[in-house]
């Protein structure tokens, strides 16, 4: 199962992506997370220590490896690809494993004025397209804030897209744009995650603003999560109620996408 987590900046994409990854890994599934945001912070949310995170080689620098596994250079079109390149054995030096999750990063902007990250995005798009996952495997991409990645189509090959929204007009507007652009890409399973919701009234209002998008789960606003963030800790490690909410999203997601119900499915 390949999932992309999208939404306006600051709505909680990274928190949701990290929570899902940790829970799928706890079931014993092979989980790969990809931080597709050049302003990367998924590693911290996963509980990976900064020194280990600094050792991750960005996907943007994996050109040779991708060519070797797929039989084709990323960025080229046509040609014959290997249909099922392995990803769960990616060399350890290219990822960091923590809490059962193998974590990769797209790559950041290394120098001001150095250009856009289009070549890197093309590489990631190719990797996502060529990766055939086993039925019990999970790949979760944490996307860049906003909508530019949908122009690039980085997530065109995902099985499902989560759109995280919070109470307020702005993330709702972004969600509407994402819904339209995802349809252009042919992504048909698009689900809302309602985050930072205070009460049933706010939840109802959010649903009313986006009637065409099915809601896959709701995550309440909690002081404990704010404090965990301030302290640089994963909410996953401090707030059982948050974990329960993410677990509910995980179950519905697995049912919608048709992933094997347990880690033994091949």
């Amino acid at each position: 199962m390949k999932i992309a987590v999208t939404g306006k900046g600051g709505v909680g994409k990274t928190t949701v992506a990290a929570g899902l990854a940790r829970l799928f890994a706890q079931e014993g599934r092979p989980v790969i997370t990809i931080d597709a945001d050049p302003d990367a912070n998924l590693a911290a949310a996963l509980g990976i220590d900064p020194e280990a995170a600094a050792r991750i080689v960005p996907i943007a620098k994996m050109s040779e490896l991708i060519a070797e596994r797929t039989g084709s250079k990323p960025g080229t079109t046509g040609g014959i690809y290997k249909l099922n390149p392995r990803v769960d054995d990616l060399p350890d030096e290219l990822s960091v494993k923590a809490h059962g999750v193998k974590h990769l990063v797209l790559g950041t902007v290394e120098k001001g004025g150095s250009g856009c990250i289009c070549p890197e995005s093309t590489m990631l798009k190719a990797l996502m397209k060529h990766v055939i996952v086993r039925r019990d495997e999970v790949v979760i991409m944490d996307m860049e804030a906003g909508i530019e990645h949908l122009g690039r189509g980085t997530s065109a090959s995902v099985d499902a897209m989560l759109v995280v929204v919070e109470p307020g007009q702005r993330s709702v507007q972004t969600a509407r744009q994402i819904q339209k652009l995802a349809a252009d890409l042919g992504v048909t399973r698009v689900f809302l995650v309602l985050n930072k919701v205070r009460d049933a009234a706010e939840e109802g209002e959010l649903r009313a603003h986006l009637p065409d998008l099915p809601v896959i789960g709701t995550v309440l606003e909690r002081e404990s999560i704010r404090k965990a963030d301030l302290a640089g800790r994963s909410p996953f490690d401090v707030e059982p109620a948050f974990v329960a909410e993410i677990a509910a999203i995980k179950e519905r997601l697995a049912a919608e996408v048709g992933v094997a119900a347990d880690a033994s499915g091949k």
Copy 2:
């Protein structure tokens, strides 16, 4: 004075940019705002009604006009440019004026899979570079969330860059990257805006995390601002304390950049 407002997604860039624009305009200065985020929502924060906002022609579609004013096509290098193309008389059909602010937008992603927004960013960069503002004029760009725009160098010609941060590790990390990348671009005036701060302890902690960046102002977290956002209203119109905080930032910014102290300076 040309200003870029930057920061991680969700920290409040758009709110700060809109507040500054409204206050500079209240002084009688010509103010131009540019929403440089393809996931645009500055118009709403400025209090521009959605129908008027929908009529704005994106900068990305202004190629002919930029060539006419500057004597050179955006995206080309070399050649002789007109040194002071006018911007305050931009045709009304290319902008929407509200509360004394002329508002322009970069342009959005119109179709999923249509590519990146590099050409549009190149156009905006050229426009910003060629615009010579009078001493009393103010141009405020609300940048895309994160750091990719710094790779593109869209804001390379600004007089000052504001980096908005909120309590928490993530926006602090982003601010550190912005500081480094802005230096690569040669932007020397980089100031922090501490947003959504609850108390002196949180403010002190934020300052301690970013000791090398001068703080130009602090904006407190307020329930009234959250409610205004939920209702789709500008905090500028509902919260006098917020307006006072932004006014303090405006004064310091004008002093730092050396803008004429009142609207009569030419």
